[in-house]
Amino acid sequence: GTWCSGVKISYFKGGTADSFSDVLEKGAKQAAADTGADVTIISSNWDFPTMVQKFKEEIAKKPDAISFMGHPGDAAIQPSAKAAKDAGILVDFSNVPAPKSIATVNGGFTGANLKLMGNNLAARSVKDFGLKKGDQAIVIGTFGVPGRSDREDGTVSTLEKAGVKVTKLDLKAFAGNAAGDPNLVTPTLTASILKNKNLKLIVAAGPILGNMNNYFKAAKLEPGKVKAAGFDLGDTVLKGFEEGYIQLTADQEPFKQGYMPIISLCLAKQYGLGQTSVDTSSGFVTTANYKVVAALPKGFR
């Protein structure tokens, strides 16, 4: 398409190269191809000060619009959001909601409510797997980094409310980010499994969730003996469903988080339409419906 050509949009993705950010980028590039918009991809390594810094730099470059994602919260970005508005730049937010800043710029929001997503996953797990007081669960991820770990924090709090005892395995703690190589999680997860005699549930995301079969083998667990749930959806996760290692996942549809903001911003820029908000975290993939999902075209989640 060419209807949006000449419109400059800076699109923020999170990491330089992780599967989630890469799908975001794919979405944004697809939208660029569909609309003709001139999209520049900005990466922040998921580092908050860097994000804010890059946000300010982009405002200085005066593009037509900025799609800002994964940001560190209102206090840090509201002043810049205001500056962007004053400079006549359209701003859209994605991935993590920032109500005050969104109000400031009259922007749209595309993404999941991550905390809610975490809460929901936990609630659904309690229901589907019949968890009860005294059961144990392991949650793998990053914790206590708001914005980055809202999802996991939400999962933990809801599980704990249900009386489940949660062990947190922090990926960042072991020398950088063990998410990079899921192999490196094996020993600690095994230790945790051995430690938690009453283990009923393991929660993880992305590549770690996709590697669940290997963790189960290492810990000599039968598939399904302990339930596995988590976030994101890729080939390896679907395979996990097929082999019975994974029972539940919630996908926040990163492709849409890349695609929708560009469309919304183009509409706003070219035709003066109001910016759109989209919730991308509507459903769950379960043992009942994973086959349907697996049959869908690949590379979009």
Partner: protein, 325 residues
């Protein structure tokens, strides 16, 4: 020997600074040529100058440690821990800036002193000790902070914020602080006897000891300076964001180290340059902006960053002779 080299026009000690500067200019010319619309716009400079001072202030203290023949990899965690001290005190005291800054600086300096003590008094390798301490201190920070994000909204309207990180026309206030600190630390490094002792500590500590210089104390003070600068960086960073995260310091590790070496301070100790560091930090913070502006997105940035570091090293090599083993 019958002839002598003549006409060495550039004094030896200015070569690294000049080398770093030439490299910076060449890089900027390339950037301007590739994206004039970005780099001929003053706005981009205002934006880059927001964070430049933080890298530069951190880097200056690393010049001291490096010249003293040691290395410090623990500063990212010290930023996080002293930043926590700052944010926590602000919250507890209803934004008493002075108290919070004092506490933060005290925490930062204590961490530095601890590193210095382990390294000089117990004779441990600084590379590995500070690598270990970086883990230990970020762990401590996380345990204490327990995952809170500390929003300090009141700061947005505070006078102290506008003095420290406000702006004078297009120039962020922290740029002036950076130059002030660079002047003071530059004078100390190049002209004060402490600076001389630092360089001697890195070059030939035995000689220093024989001449009555307290080499251990000198080195410990260098590590303490890292702690001090880390807490300043933490404070400025928090003021800029009005928010505290425990990941505050993480992103500083590699760019700041790179700035030290791109700036012409050799890893081998015995010399260094504060002026060069400021230029090196500027080079480093412009790299990413320049690569993105050149239309190479995301993935290309680290390729560009890496190449610039290696190229700048080659430049120093040709210009000032081999810096390092």
């Amino acid at each position: 020997m019958s002839e002598q080299k003549k006409g060495v026009l550039i004094p030896e000690r200015l070569k690294p600074v000049l080398g770093a500067f030439i490299f910076f200019v060449v890089m900027m010319v390339a950037f301007i040529a590739s994206s004039p619309e970005v780099f001929l716009n003053i706005g981009i400079y205002s934006a880059v100058f927001l964070s430049l001072p933080l890298f530069a202030i951190m880097g200056m203290s690393l010049v001291f440690v490096t010249a003293a023949g040691e290395i410090d990899l623990a500063f990212p965690s010290i930023i996080a821990l002293s930043g926590l001290a700052f944010a926590w005190t602000l919250q507890q005291t209803n934004l008493n800036f002075i108290l919070a800054a004092i506490f933060s600086v005290a925490v930062g300096i204590s961490c530095g002193l601890l590193n210095g003590y382990l390294i000089t008094k117990l004779g441990l390798s600084s590379l590995i000790t500070t690598l270990g301490m970086n883990f230990a201190l970020i762990g401590l920070t996380n345990v204490l902070n327990n995952g809170e994000v500390r929003t300090l909204e009141g700061l947005n309207d505070s006078k102290i914020k506008s003095i420290l990180v406000g702006s004078f026309g297009p120039i962020p206030a922290q740029m002036f602080w950076m130059f002030a600190i660079a002047f003071v630390l530059g004078m100390i490094f190049h002209r004060h006897k402490f600076g001389l002792h630092v360089r001697v500590a890195g070059d030939n500590p035995e000689a220093g000891r024989a001449m009555g210089v307290n080499i251990e104390r000198t080195k410990i003070l260098c590590f303490a300076l890292v702690g001090l600068c880390a807490s300043i960086v933490g404070i400025l960073g928090i003021l800029l964001l009005s928010t505290y995260f425990s990941t505050l310091g993480e992103a500083y590790l590699l760019p700041t180290l790179a700035a030290v070496f791109v700036g012409g301070t050799p890893v081998t100790g015995g010399k260094g340059t504060i002026g060069g560091l400021v230029i090196g930090a500027t080079t480093v913070v412009f790299i990413q902006t320049g690569v993105v502006a050149a239309g190479l997105d995301g993935q290309w940035t680290s390729l560009g960053f890496g190449l610039v570091i290696v190229l700048s090293l080659l430049g120093h090599r040709k210009f000032s002779g081999r810096l390092t083993r």
